[in-house]
Symmetry: C2
Subunit: 394 residues, 2 copies
Amino acid sequence: MFDFQLYTPTHVVFGRNAEARVGELVKAQDAKKVLIHYGSGSVVRSGLLDRVRDALYVAGIAYTELGGVVPNPRLSLVYKGIELAKAEGVDFILAVGGGSVIDSAKAIAFGLAEEGDVWDLYEHTRSAKACLPIGVVLTLAATGSEMSMGSVITKEEGWEKRAYDDDLCRPRFAIMNPELTMTLPAYQTACGCVDIMMHTMERYFTSGGNMEITDSIAEALLRTVIKSAKVLVEKPMDYDARAEIMWAGSLAHNGLTGCGNNGGDFSSHMLEHEMGGLYDVAHGAGLAAIWGSWARYVYKDCLHRFRRFAVNVMGVAANGTDEQIALQGIEATEAFFRSIHMPTSFAELGIQPTEAEMQDMAKKCSAAAGGCQGSAKVLYEADMLAIYQMAAAL
Amino acid sequence: MFDFQLYTPTHVVFGRNAEARVGELVKAQDAKKVLIHYGSGSVVRSGLLDRVRDALYVAGIAYTELGGVVPNPRLSLVYKGIELAKAEGVDFILAVGGGSVIDSAKAIAFGLAEEGDVWDLYEHTRSAKACLPIGVVLTLAATGSEMSMGSVITKEEGWEKRAYDDDLCRPRFAIMNPELTMTLPAYQTACGCVDIMMHTMERYFTSGGNMEITDSIAEALLRTVIKSAKVLVEKPMDYDARAEIMWAGSLAHNGLTGCGNNGGDFSSHMLEHEMGGLYDVAHGAGLAAIWGSWARYVYKDCLHRFRRFAVNVMGVAANGTDEQIALQGIEATEAFFRSIHMPTSFAELGIQPTEAEMQDMAKKCSAAAGGCQGSAKVLYEADMLAIYQMAAAL
C-alpha cells in the first residue's frame, strides 16, 4: 500500500433538472461576470443553453459567451477565450458540455489567472500558481473532467495534444442531470462507458501494493458500468442506467479509485493517444480496440491482478490455473466491448495502419512517455510496437 | 434512485508520517494564529503533540493550545475555546485527536465566526452562515468527523447531547497516519469498526430507491472493514489493516455511501444515543449491542435489502427463502461482532435497564426524532421500546 492524497472539492449536484440550480450555485461563488463556454449545436438545440442563460439572468449574474469547442479542444479557442474574458472582466467560467468543453474552460481559467502563455503549462515548462474558478453543467459521461485535476489541449500547429494536471482547476461545482445524456448517439454513449472503465482499470492494473478498499470500490464501479452499459444498448432512455454511468464517470477519475496504489498504469491511454493522432477515431472506441492486445501482452507480468479482475469484475469462475482464469477475464471483457458495439481490434475500429505507421506510433508513444510507460508491465518502444501489431493482426 | 448532493472538500493526506506535513498544510490555508485543540494525555504521551508544535514552529506559524476534550465533548470547553481563541486572535483551528476533538473544534469554529450563542446551532434555532477553517490530525478511526459535515456536542446542564450538520464545518484538510491508531486499546479499535460499519449500514438499509453504484461501494467498504477488523484482533500493529479501516472510516461518513439513497435510516444511532445517555457505554459497543435486535424487528419490512446484505456483505449462500437468507445475514453480523469482542445484547454490554428505564429511553428517543425515526421501517415509541426489550431479553 502506498501513501496517497485525495482532494475532491467539487460540489456535486446530481439529479433530474439539476441545471435549474445553476444560478444559485454560480452566485454562491461570488461571481460577478461569467463566461459561458460550450461546444456545438447540441446544447443550443436541446434548449439547455437557453435554460442556463435564463437561470443566470434570474440570479442577476452578468455573462458573456464563447461556443465552438470541438473534440480535442484547440489552443486557438483557448487564447480567444482568454482575450474575450479579459476584455469582459470575467471572474468565473461556466462550462456547459462534456470533457472537451470542461478542459477548454480549465485552460482559459489558467490563462486568466496568471500572466504568461498558458501553453507553458501543457509543455510543463512551469506550474500554475492560480486558476480562475470553474463550474460545470455536464452533458456527457466519459472523461470525468467535471471532478478531475486534468485537462488536455491540442495545439493545431504540429497537432500537439498535451495534458496538464493540477488540483487548482478542479471545478467548484458540477451539475449532473443524467437526462441531459439521453439524446447522445449510442456509439458515443458506449465510448463514454469504455473511457470510464479505462480510468478505473488503468488505476487497477498495477504492479502491486494496492489497497483492498480501493480495489473493491473499483470492482464495484466496473461491475455497475458494465451492467448499466448493457441496459443502455436496449433502453437508451433508462434514467437509472444513465445515472449510474454518469456518477461512475466522476468517481472513476476524481482520484478515489487510485487511493493507495502506485500511480496506475495508463499504457492503454498512451497507446490510444497515438492512434488518435493518426486517425480520427473516438477516444473510447480507440481504447476498446487496443485494450485486449495490451492485456494479452502484459497479463503474465501482473497475473494476480488479472486473475482478480476476471473473478471479481467479469464473473469468471475461479476454476483452472491463474493464467486460464486471467485469459478468460480478458476474453469476457472483449466480449462485453463487442456487446456494446465497441471494437476490439484495429480492423473493427476501421483503421489499417502500415508497419511504418505503427513504428512511428510506437516511437512517438515512448517519446511522449519519456522512454517507457506502465506499471502492470513497463513498456518500451519495442513492446508498444508489438501491441500495435497484435491489434492489427486480429 | 433519489437526487443527491455530495461535497467533500477535505484535502486528505494519508500515510506513514503524514503528520510531518502539518506545517505546510496549515500554511497553505493562510493561517496566522492556530488553536491546537486536543484531548487527554495520549497525544502528549505519544509525542504527537510535540511533533505538531514543532512542525508549526518550523513553518513559522504562531499557535495557542487548548486540551482537555473528553468523549461526548462538552459545551463548557467549547465556550472556553471560543473565549481563548478570540483573545488570541486565532484564525484557524487544528484538531489533533479523534471524533470528540474534531467535533469540539467544529463548535469552536462556528462560535468564532459569528456573533451569538453557538449552542443555538445545536438547538436548531438558527443556521450558521460562516465557520472558521479547521484542519485535522486524526488519531482514531471511527466517527468520520474528519471529512463529515456533522458534530455532536453535549451541554452538561441537563446532559443534552445534540448534533448539528453543516457543510461549512467540513475540515480543510485531514492528515491520516494509520500508525497513530496502533496504540489504541483493542476494545476502542473494535468500537471504531462498529461505528464505521453503522455509518455505512444506516445509509444502506433504506426503504428503497438506492443507487447500484452506491450500494456496491457500501458493500465493498463493509467487507473490507470486517476483514481488517478480524486481522486486528490477532495483529493490532498490522499497518495495512489499520489503513483500510482508517480510510473506510472517512468514506463511510463523508456522504459517498449515501449518494442516491433516501437519506438513510439511522435508527440504531438514535436508539444507542439514549443508552449512552443513561449508561456510560462506548458508542460503538452500544451500537453493536442494539443492532441485532433492531435488525430482527425491522427486517421483514425491508427484506430485499437484508437479503442483499446477507449475500453481498456477509457471504451467506443464496439458498433458501429470502427470510431465511436475511436472518442468516443478521446472525452472521452478530457472530462477527462477537468475534471482535463486541456485545450483541444489553447483558453482553453490561447494562440492565429496568422496564421503566426502557420506557423512558423509548420516550426520549421518539421525542428526539420528532415522533418517529427510520427508513427500513419507521419506528414509533412502542417500536423503540420493543427493540430495547428484545436487546434486554437476550
